[in-house]
């Protein structure tokens, strides 16, 4: 059978599971006793195993199988999730990741993982027989636990073959909380009986007399239609003791001795960490239930409830439920096409508006208003479709920070806020690398060694805060640490040493300006070059990347208290608000996100400082850039205003005034690339098509600084 068509699906799902594994392992590390997390890990590993075996990626299957064995022991309490084991599991996840990547690249995922397998197998075999607990073998290995299912010794057992829905689970839980008994009854009718449905009816009648039947398998309807073999199952909630229930059943002729089980145990028990005999039996039963259900639905009812019970007591970790939300996966190129078409529509709408205005057609104006609303809505919807929660980028960071901190012998807590903040896909794809760099910096250079922190009377554990939020039409991402902060003096010295600027001008810089020097090319503050940062990629790369996304980066730092990097990004790169200006006869667009204000001055107000034209704007010196010179605009004989129009643009803390001839107005523009033949044109960020069909260039404001 050709599986290649499922490859893409496999890869996507595999990556999701790997991410889940990573998250859950991290959570497990902080609360090693949490069964719910172990279950989650187990489920993901198990699903991966099944998927990869089906696809014929045997290496993946083998590794996950061995992971599963170890996980199984962890769940039984035969092993405790010491850090060593978690590390090993992390290594396994890494190997799985490489395998999946290999498969994504067209390979078969056959990587050498002999060492890992041996380690896993050792773990699995060595400590396995130590305890008094029956040997637990991975269910796939074929041997099922010997513990008798009816658990006579205990008198209570766990039902795993029935799936409860949310409502039923609640009902059972409430009943038990209120002191009711919950019985699982397997009622059997003599096979020789000719009117089974009549007997079934009596069973129902008798049971309803003493309690409430909340579920039957098969459903009542089918039982009434005699669509059952000789037995059916009931879930009964009643105040009566088990004895009375039994009596109520056997009193009916042709009804065999019923199999009644109290299912209170599984709902109410809290499982101690060191598994007793019952616990061990229970978890195996839970497991069986899950294994029995191979269709991919991982939550059998009882297991689910027990998970829920336990997670409740341990806040902070909620197992990621497979959401059955109604979504479709769409090829991103289709989305790009869609947004292009909407862009076209917007342009043409503006064009029709102009025609309407010129020809004075009142009816057209009305219709156009309607159309305007629809296109605006359409545009918003399309933009929303392209929005992706930033979690897709953030999710890989906890693991990264953990590994880095371990490597450096630091204790660091990464706090993530606002991971649901949505950004356009085009921005999401690009923002990951700069963030990796900032986080690495925070962990490596920001947070001090534990001893230094104690000496500075700070908690031993450093904190790194990664947050995202919307601010107007922008997204703000912050990377903040409570480390040693940036020392402006050290930075000034370093900058002078590196020849970035001379000592005099360095001394003139304010502390805030000095701190910004780290963004200059060729600057690195790290005293020692570590493996983590200082790989020759400086902060200037981060700055360039952010600016390429029409964003800006700011640094706030207090020596001894910490550093905060604030990144501001546009929500989308496809459609932006821009100010249209006229320079001689040419129209240019300036992205609104860069504009601080517009102003106008008389020509005599322009002064010169060292060949640089400046004006005084509310007491501050504002350098001027003559756009017609920068853009090599040929002079025209268009009449000009007596006053000089100035668009004040900002980039971080810096401000510059751009001289333009006329301000046309604000407009939403669709950004179009200029194409390969015109790649790397300075000062031009792209082009857009105006309402009249004319192409206008967008000024790359960041490039002017």
């Amino acid at each position: 059978m050709d599986m290649s068509q499922y490859r893409g699906m496999f890869l996507e799902e595999a990556q999701e599971h790997l991410q889940k594994l990573n998250d859950a392992l991290l959570a497990l590390e902080s609360s090693p006793e949490n069964r719910a997390i172990l279950d989650e890990i187990f489920r993901s590993a198990h699903t991966l195993k099944g998927m990869s075996a089906t696809m014929g990626f045997n290496q993946v299957a083998e590794l996950t199988h061995n992971m599963e064995n170890v996980l199984h022991k962890l769940r039984n309490g035969e092993l405790c999730s010491a850090s060593g084991i978690v590390d090993l599991l992390f290594k396994c996840v890494d190997s799985l990741d490489s395998m999946i990547n290999d498969i994504a690249g067209g390979g078969e995922g056959n990587l050498t993982v002999g060492d890992l397998l041996t380690e896993l197998k050792n773990l699995h075999e060595s400590e396995g027989h130590a305890g008094s607990i029956p040997v637990a073998v991975g269910p796939e290995a074929g041997s099922h636990p010997d513990t008798p299912i009816d658990g006579a010794a205990v008198g209570q057992k766990i039902i795993t073959s029935i799936e409860f829905n949310e409502y039923e689970k609640n009902l059972i839980k409430q009943a038990i909380d209120q002191g009711y008994h919950c019985y699982h009854i397997v009622a059997s009718i003599d096979p020789r009986c000719v009117m089974k449905s009549a007997r079934a009816f009596m069973i129902f009648k008798n049971m309803e007399a003493i309690g409430e039947i909340i579920k039957s398998i098969p459903p009542v309807q089918e039982i009434e239609e005699e669509k059952f073999d000789t037995s059916f199952q009931l879930i009964l909630i009643s105040m009566e003791p088990e004895e009375n229930v039994r009596k109520g059943l056997v009193s009916i002729t042709e009804v065999m001795e019923p199999d009644i089980t109290v299912i209170s145990q599984v709902f109410t028990s809290s499982i101690p960490a060191e598994g007793t005999e019952t616990q061990s039996a229970e978890s195996q039963l839970l497991q069986q239930g899950r294994e029995a259900d191979k269709t991919g639905k991982q939550d059998s009812g009882a297991a689910d409830i027990s998970n829920r019970e336990k997670t409740k007591n341990e806040p902070g970790y909620v197992p990621a439920k497979a959401k059955a939300s109604q979504t479709v996966r769409v090829d991103t190129t289709k989305l790009d096409n869609l947004i292009n078409l909407v862009g076209e529509l917007v342009i043409n709408k503006t064009r029709i508006e102009q025609i309407g205005r010129v020809n004075q057609v009142p009816d057209l104006a009305e219709t156009l208003e309607q159309m305007d609303r629809i296109t605006t809505d359409l545009q918003n919807v399309v933009m929303k479709v392209r929005m992706v929660p930033i979690d897709t980028v953030f999710s890989r960071f906890p693991r990264m920070v953990r590994d880095l901190a371990k490597e450096l012998g630091k204790e660091i807590e990464l706090i993530i806020e606002g991971k649901e903040t949505e950004l356009d896909r085009t921005v999401i794809d690009e923002v990951g690398d700069p963030l990796v760099h900032l986080l690495r910096n925070a962990v490596d250079h920001g947070i001090e060694e534990p001893e230094a922190r104690i000496a500075a009377q700070k908690p031993e554990q450093g904190k790194v805060l990664l947050s995202a939020r919307h601010e107007g039409n922008n997204v703000v991402i912050e990377v903040e640490d409570d480390g040693k902060g940036l020392d402006p003096e050290a930075i000034r010295q370093k900058a002078v040493e590196k020849g970035i600027l001379d000592a005099e001008s360095a001394a003139e810089l304010s502390d805030t300006e000095a701190v910004r020097l780290v963004l200059k090319p060729g600057f690195s503050t790290a005293e020692k070059i570590t493996d983590i940062s200082g790989r020759g990629v400086g902060m200037d790369v981060v700055k360039n990347k952010i600016e390429a996304l029409s964003g800006s980066i700011n640094i706030e730092s207090t020596p001894g208290r910490g550093t905060r990097f604030k990144i501001q990004l546009p929500l989308t790169l496809a459609i932006i608000q821009a100010l249209l200006v006229l320079i001689e006869e040419e129209t240019y667009a300036i992205p609104l996100s860069f504009i601080a204000e517009t102003t106008s001055v008389m020509p005599e107000q322009v002064n010169k400082i060292q060949d640089q034209e400046v004006i005084l704007l509310r007491g501050d010196v504002l350098p001027l850039i003559r756009l017609n010179e920068v853009l090599q605009v040929p002079p025209s004989d268009l009449p000009k205003d007596e006053e000089i129009n100035i668009v004040v643009v900002k980039n971080g803390e810096k401000r510059v005034g751009l001289l333009v001839d006329t301000l046309i107005g604000q407009q939403e523009i669709v950004i179009k690339p200029l194409g390969k033949l015109l790649g790397n044109i300075p000062v031009v960020a792209g082009a857009t098509i105006l309402g009249n069909g004319q192409v206008s260039l967008i000024i790359d404001v960041a490039g002017l600084f």
Partner: protein, 152 residues
């Protein structure tokens, strides 16, 4: 079946040139061209081709001929180049012709003739000489022309 190529015949400064038809997307009248600062001097600017912004190369400028305002007959031949559209401005487009393989000769190499590096062959059709253009070479401008850049 006879082998050969189908070409679009166009003129620049009285000379006849041929562009292989399979890379020609369409031929359009000259639209308003937006100048792009700091671009290669061979690029006149960009045009709006039904919502797409595409660069236009002026063959006159590329061949080092004296510049002239496009006349009524001037056309932009839109080329599909590496999955991107590029316009080529010519003085006029005359027709689409079939050039049998045996009529196409390799261009005289190194004989000092200007711009021979851009020619991939010469087609002889009776008394007409059609110079086949090597657009790969013609569009190779990004590396050769990086001077003249820089902000004032």
């Amino acid at each position: 079946m006879e082998t050969g190529v189908q070409v679009v015949a166009c003129t620049v400064e009285g000379e006849e040139y041929a562009i292989e038809i399979k890379i020609v997307q369409e031929i359009i009248r000259v639209l308003e061209i937006t100048r792009v600062p700091h671009a290669s001097p061979f690029i006149s600017g960009v045009i709006n081709l039904r919502g797409m912004v595409i660069p236009v190369m002026d063959l006159r400028k590329r061949f080092g001929l004296p510049p002239r305002e496009p006349e009524e007959t001037a056309r932009i031949v839109v080329i599909n180049w590496n999955r991107e559209m590029v316009g080529v401005l010519v003085d006029s487009v005359s027709e689409v012709i079939w050039l049998p393989a045996q009529t196409v000769e390799t261009p005289p190499s190194g004989t000092g003739g200007a711009n021979t590096e851009f020619f991939s062959g010469i087609g002889k059709l009776g008394s007409r000489l059609l110079i086949m253009l090597d657009l790969e070479k013609i569009f190779e401008i990004n590396d050769s022309v990086s001077s003249g850049r820089g902000i004032v």
